[in-house]
């Protein structure tokens, strides 16, 4: 049987925080022809709401310390505020989307991150993706939109990195579909020169990745993202694209492959 193509798009937080950019990416997402899934976080809006509620946001190494009170706010913002609004927008674009957390239909199980030097609280590391419900939705042409929440299977919601959720969904669904991951953000792709928006590296494989790291062209914040991409490719994902939010419908940006 011919395998169907599935595109999983993750929207970066700078795009999420700008109504104009968000509308553009959703318009393009809704016009895609493949089976598809959308993933988003919402860190900045969670921080704003925490402050408004008088709760001091705390981050360590770019990860949020999620105590019980912070988790409630993260749930409210990711799922209630951002996800629900995206669903209303997509359905208005004739894209029959349904909002999800990893708890919905038991789709993403995670374990609470073990306490080492830092206790991150209710932060989850993905353990298992249960594709049954997701496949049912895709087969019925209902489009799942995941926010950055999972559950532990015992009733506890866990705050979980949206990039990790994207890769985990991709790896699990690669057993049945030809999966491409698309990370949409505000730049045109991985840049050779961060000052030059036109210096996009159009193609990265494992060999060129090593070379780019040696030459210090790829460094710091980009490394975990690309490591994450290769991890998904090793688990069966076909291609990982890093591209601009308004370039969803065309060939553009950086393609990462084995």
């Amino acid at each position: 049987m011919k395998r169907e193509k599935l595109t999983i798009v993750k929207i970066g937080s700078h795009v999420l925080d700008d109504d104009n950019k968000l509308n553009q990416v959703l318009q393009q997402f809704s016009a895609l022809k493949d089976l598809r899934i959308l993933v988003h976080g919402g860190g900045k809006q969670a921080t704003d709401t925490l402050k408004r509620m008088g709760i001091e946001p705390r981050m360590v190494d770019g990860r949020r310390i999620t105590d019980a009170e912070t988790l409630k706010v993260v749930q409210m913002v990711y799922s209630g505020l951002i996800n629900t609004s995206i669903i209303a927008k997509l359905n208005a674009m004739n894209c029959p989307a349904i909002g999800m957390t990893g708890a919905d239909s038991n789709s993403i199980l995670a374990v609470k991150r073990p306490v080492k030097d830092v206790d991150f609280g209710f932060v989850g590391e993905v353990k298992e993706v249960n594709t049954l419900g997701i496949e049912t939705l895709l087969a019925a042409e209902i489009i799942p939109v995941f926010c950055a929440l999972t559950h532990d299977g015992w009733g506890q919601i866990l705050n979980t990195n949206a990039d990790t959720i994207t890769s985990a969904l991709g790896s699990a669904l690669a057993e049945k579909y030809d999966v491409d991951l698309v990370f949409c953000f505000e730049l045109s792709g991985v840049l050779k020169d961060p000052q030059d928006a036109n210096s996009v590296i159009t193609d990265i494989n494992k060999d060129t990745y090593l070379q780019l790291q040696k030459e210090k062209i790829i460094k710091a914040g980009m490394i975990p993202k690309i490591d994450n991409a290769f991890d998904a490719l090793d688990k069966g994902v076909c291609n990982v694209f890093i591209k601009k939010y308004n370039a969803l419908e065309r060939q553009a940006g950086t393609r990462i492959h084995l």
Copy 2:
């Protein structure tokens, strides 16, 4: 073809606000054998969060004035906080539930309530239920859990009464299923004497309803609820039950029928 039975359960706000009662009703809901849907609101928790965020809650005739800022909080609390937590609990009870608003899969379309004496803001009156996505979920044994939000089909979320959503779902789904509506709250049913918890009226039809109103046994707050029940019955729902939150699995409470 034999029609399947579908039970739509609405949890009242006093049950929602008490963890112990909520867990009991969810445990019983998860143990039901029929196809089923859960519906909830969350008024009290929305009011608490509004106050915490420094927004003054405003109610007229028991309905919330929902300006743009209040709507964001209502979305956050109904969908993000309460619905997501219920979904995590139900899935932990091996009940493969999925959280919904009326925007999900375009399932409940509403119109913004027209401004007469009062401008209620972003409050919706149900216009149309689109059962397609819901039927797909039910057929796959995925259990929809709706919170009290709908959309206008143009990208706008609307705050919508949970009782109305329950009846609208029931009326629309009665075309395909044998639907019972169950309204769960903290009392044992409709009481003959509000001071006596054992004075449950076990059976109400249109004739006895008129009589009970004449005798002033049923009055005030209960009248719109029972009118709403008869409206659903007129549209094809089989039975409407009003019963205690811990009596889901057994015959109990008040049965309303034609």
